[in-house]
């Protein structure tokens, strides 16, 4: 399988590295010499220094034999032209483009049906903003996401000492909480991912991932001793694309929000685009501005500048000034392990979500979603159970799940079922599984679903 990636930025690099590690034939095209050099030095791929939207370059790269074209440069226009040219030269190649400008949003579907026939348009910023929005309403959660088109939510929660659950064994959950007990998918204790068995206990300080029906989430949180407090006032640091989109979303939900942006021209742009949001010109880490704007009164502070270090500092400063609920945007994955130790856990990463949504979109077969958690240390996989796989039509206790995997729940006719040893997965059921990174390959075999591409 041959894949051409146009754009060797953060997203291009990470997809290339994932695909290369799965033994795909990857060609990356980028105008920037440094970027291509970094790729060809670090990864087993072919890198071309040229413009990815140039038809001659595409032909030279072998677009005609290519299965998938990923256009992920920072420029929407380049991505679109690359897809357009690919569509003309080699109509059978699948095309995927990253398009970030919000004004294109309403045309995503038409890009698929009309020229340039882009099979999938992805915009990681939309997902990041949605994640931030979910995190805002669940102050206790470190990570939130959903499956089955939003009907099922997973959340990662740091268990504190006062939680009624602290110290309990998982087997006792059913007697304690009855039908509506939380479905625990993973426990992360001291950077180690534990796939829980009945004998495991949950301890204070654990990061617990659980799954619940979206409408029952609030109830689940109270079991953990956390309250879902909808935010009323938000402060956004950084008025880039994400900040702008988020502010728009918050305006729609009538949440009072302020944006602090340091670039005056960007401020003017924001003020033109936004109606109710207060636009403040200043440095995000300026304590005086924080005090002037009463930062301690805000319910949630979201730092989404383009600079990881600024974001981290802003979040720390805000915590220091009494803001409990902070959300931080981090791009560099090597920061992830460090952040928990300084108390910054509610993290969003457009890069990671771009990579995972591209991979999700590219995956073939019956895998519906594939979500990396906790800095790619584990994965949630949502799949449809196939008749041919070993998993169907027998009680679960007769199936030997690979070590480090767990069938979290079964969804049949949009009902969530908590699996027991006697449960039977029927063909066509949606199943959500959790696997630690090392076990993903074995899990694929069990599902007889190859995590293949298109």
């Amino acid at each position: 399988m041959k894949i051409i990636i146009v754009g060797a930025g953060e997203v291009g690099y990470n997809i290339a590295s994932r695909l290369a590690s799965e033994n795909k034939h990857v060609i990356v095209i980028d105008k920037n010499q440094d970027a291509t050099q970094r790729l060809s030095e670090n990864l087993d791929i072919q890198a071309i220094t040229a413009s990815g939207s140039n038809p001659k370059v595409l032909i030279d790269a072998g677009i005609n034999e290519t299965d998938i074209l990923l256009a992920v440069t920072d420029s929407d226009e380049t991505n679109l032209v690359a897809c357009l040219m690919a569509n003309i030269i080699s109509p059978t190649t699948k095309k995927l483009a990253r398009i970030r400008n919000a004004d294109f949003d309403s045309y995503h579907n038409r890009f698929q049906t009309e020229n340039p026939h882009i099979d999938t348009v992805i915009n990681p910023e939309i997902e990041v903003v949605n994640t931030i929005r979910k995190l805002m309403d669940v102050p206790g959660a470190v990570d939130v996401g959903d499956f089955v088109d939003g009907k099922v939510t997973y959340a990662g929660i740091r268990l504190d000492r006062h939680s009624p659950m602290a110290g309990m064994k998982l087997v006792d959950f059913s007697s304690q909480f009855g039908e509506d007990r939380p479905l625990i998918a993973a426990i992360i204790r001291k950077n180690e991912v534990i796939v829980p068995r009945g004998s495991n206990t949950v301890e204070p300080g654990d990061l617990i991932y659980f799954v619940s029906q979206t409408e029952k989430l609030e109830k689940m949180l109270t079991l953990f001793g956390k309250k879902a407090l909808p935010a009323k006032r938000a402060l956004i640091i950084g008025g880039g694309r994400i900040g702008e989109r988020l502010a728009k979303l918050l305006e729609r939900d009538s949440i009072h929000s302020k944006i602090i942006e340091s670039d005056i021209n960007r401020c003017h742009h924001l003020s033109e685009k936004l109606d109710k949001t207060v636009i403040l010109h200043g440095d995000g880490s300026d304590k005086k501005l924080f005090l002037e704007e009463n930062v301690s009164q805000t319910d949630v502070l979201i730092s989404v500048t383009n600079n990881d270090e600024t974001n981290i500092l802003v979040s720390l400063l805000a915590k220091n000034l009494g803001v409990e609920n902070t959300i931080t945007r981090i791009s560099k994955s090597n920061y992830f392990p460090l952040l928990a130790t300084i108390g910054i856990e509610r993290i969003v990463s457009p890069r990671l979500s771009a990579v995972s949504s591209i991979l999700k979109q590219v995956r073939k077969g019956k895998v519906l979603s594939d979500i990396s958690i906790s800095g790619e240390r584990g994965e949630f996989i949502e799949a449809i159970a196939l008749e041919t796989s070993d998993i169907t039509n027998k009680p679960l206790r007769k199936i030997s799940f690979p070590k480090g995997t767990l069938l979290v729940c079964i969804i049949r006719n949009s009902q969530i079922m908590i699996p027991t040893g006697e449960s039977i997965v029927k063909p066509g059921d949606r199943i959500i599984l959790f696997a630690v990174k090392q076990a993903v390959k074995n899990l694929e075999k069990l599902l007889t679903v190859k995590l293949d591409f298109f």
Binding site: E272, L280, L289
Partner: protein, 483 residues
């Protein structure tokens, strides 16, 4: 300043004005009234003056480009000339004894004000009354816009004249070509007029009166061929038909155009239109509540008369179905404020215009907001579009000038021996192009008794108001004339 060009434009406009006098002549022939001679004299003088100007300004150069300065001068002088020559039929008619009155009536007509010095309207010749209505109709959409629509002679320079005559705070060209825009505006205007005539005829109003009323409703003028204006008929049907067309005339005509092109929600989506309609409704209800019981016994009557007066004043039309000076103070205060608010930008109404009020309010709010959040950045937006700071400054300047000129003119008028209430009311009514004022120039009285100087002052105010101040007042800034 190229005077030849200016003279040519004025000459052409005068010829046009002269020929438009054929319409009242036809009326005169139909009714066999005695004004035929009046119009022949006036037409003769106007045409001769026009042709002389055209002849004198004959130049071989076909350079039709003019700059903003020349555009403003042309428009201001053209309107003055039209006011003077349009006054001739009045001057020659037996109803007028001096030129001051005739000029006042003529300017009041062309500027769509509707303040009158005629004491016995129904006694005048039908053709003269028709001329009175016709000049409002011509002035309403702008006589220069009309000439742009039908005479292609202005070419590129037209945009400067257009901007000077229709100085909307948020200018919008309907189509890429100016002459097409002007045509659309005039066709819309004509079609609405026709509809109103049909509606009024449907209610049993005689054709002559229906035409006169329609011709003065659409330009939000307010001249009526009846002594006691629309009150004469005492018909709820006529009231509501006229209310409807006054409101339509008070809405930006480009919204009518959008509606016709299939944007059915155009009225609702436009901030200014929403504000204008909402404000009219709220003020109507307030006045209705106030006069219910104290003036009118039934709620239905209270609403009918409240809505008519409020709409008539806020759209700056100036028809009357009731003497609002007999209303309680609260209602009078509301109507007085309506005189300043005016209708929408791009409509035929006068006053400050809702768009400027909204922009002014938002500007002030932004200033207060800045005090609370010193480092905030914000823009004033109308319809989701940013109003550039330059436009905003010009709007704030307009509002300040409006109030300044209003106060100075009122004091001057009071200095001529007019009582204070009348002085403030008359200037508000003339400056806002409304018609009836307060005090001794209320809807039941007229402007005849004012001193001659006062009439010239008010006529000047009408021109200032119609051309939205800048076009006229700029001629009085010394810097304007420096080479």
């Amino acid at each position: 300043m190229r005077w030849k060009f200016i003279a040519r434009v004025i000459g052409i406009l005068l010829v046009f004005l002269g020929f438009s006098m054929t319409a009242p002549m036809l009326v005169s022939i139909h009714y066999h009234d005695l004004a035929m001679k009046t119009f022949i004299q006036s037409m003769g003088i106007t045409l001769v003056a026009g042709f002389i100007l055209i002849f004198l300004s004959k130049s071989r150069g076909s350079d039709s480009y003019i700059n903003q300065k020349e555009g403003m001068t042309t428009v201001a002088l053209a309107w003055t000339a039209i006011g003077i020559f349009g006054a001739l039929p009045f001057y020659f008619a037996p109803d007028f004894t001096n030129f001051t009155d005739a000029f006042f009536e003529s300017v009041s007509g062309f500027t769509t004000t509707g303040s009158s010095v005629m004491t016995h309207i129904e006694g005048a010749a039908k053709s003269l009354l028709f001329w009175r209505s016709l000049i409002q109709w011509l002035g309403g959409m702008g006589i220069i816009v009309l000439s742009l629509a039908i005479l292609p002679f202005l070419g590129v320079g037209g945009i400067q004249l257009y901007k000077a005559e229709v100085p909307s705070p948020v200018p919008d060209k309907l189509t890429p070509r100016l002459s097409d825009s002007a045509k659309i505006l005039w066709v819309l205007y004509g079609v609405f007029t026709l509809f109103e005539i049909i509606f009024l005829l449907g209610g049993g109003m005689p054709l002559f009166e229906a035409t006169c009323h329609a011709l003065t409703t659409l330009p939000t003028g307010g001249f009526s061929p009846k002594d006691s204006s629309v009150a004469q008929y005492n018909s709820a049907y006529f009231d509501y038909v006229i209310i409807l067309f006054m409101i339509l005339s008070g809405i930006n005509f480009s919204l009518h155009f959008q509606m016709l092109r299939g944007k059915t929600m155009a009225f609702w989506e436009d901030t200014e239109c929403r504000f204008f309609l909402g404000l009219t409704l709220v003020l109507t209800l307030l006045v209705a509540w106030d006069i219910h019981g104290s003036v009118y016994a039934s709620a239905k009557d209270a609403f009918r008369f409240a809505s008519f007066q409020v709409v008539s004043i806020i759209t700056t039309t100036g028809f009357a179905t009731a003497d609002y000076e007999k209303f309680p103070g609260f209602s009078q205060a509301i109507l007085f404020v309506c005189m300043f608010i005016g209708a929408s930008a791009g409509s035929t109404g006068g006053g400050m215009k809702c768009a400027r009020i909204i922009a002014g309010y938002k500007y002030c709010y932004r200033e207060l907001f800045k005090i609370i959040h010193p480092r905030s950045i914000s823009h004033v937006k109308i319809n989701g579009l940013v109003i550039p700071d330059a436009v905003l400054r010009s709007i704030m300047g307009f509002l300040a000038l409006y109030m300044g000129i209003y106060i100075v003119s009122s004091i001057l008028l009071a200095g001529m021996g007019v009582d204070m209430m009348t002085a403030f009311g008359a200037v508000a009514a003339c400056f806002g192009n409304i018609g009836p004022g307060f005090g001794s120039v209320g809807p039941a009285e007229n402007f005849a008794h004012l001193p001659a100087m006062g009439k010239w002052l008010l006529a000047w105010c009408m021109l200032l108001g119609r051309l939205e101040i800048y076009t006229v007042i700029i001629l009085f800034v010394p810097e304007f004339w420096k080479k």
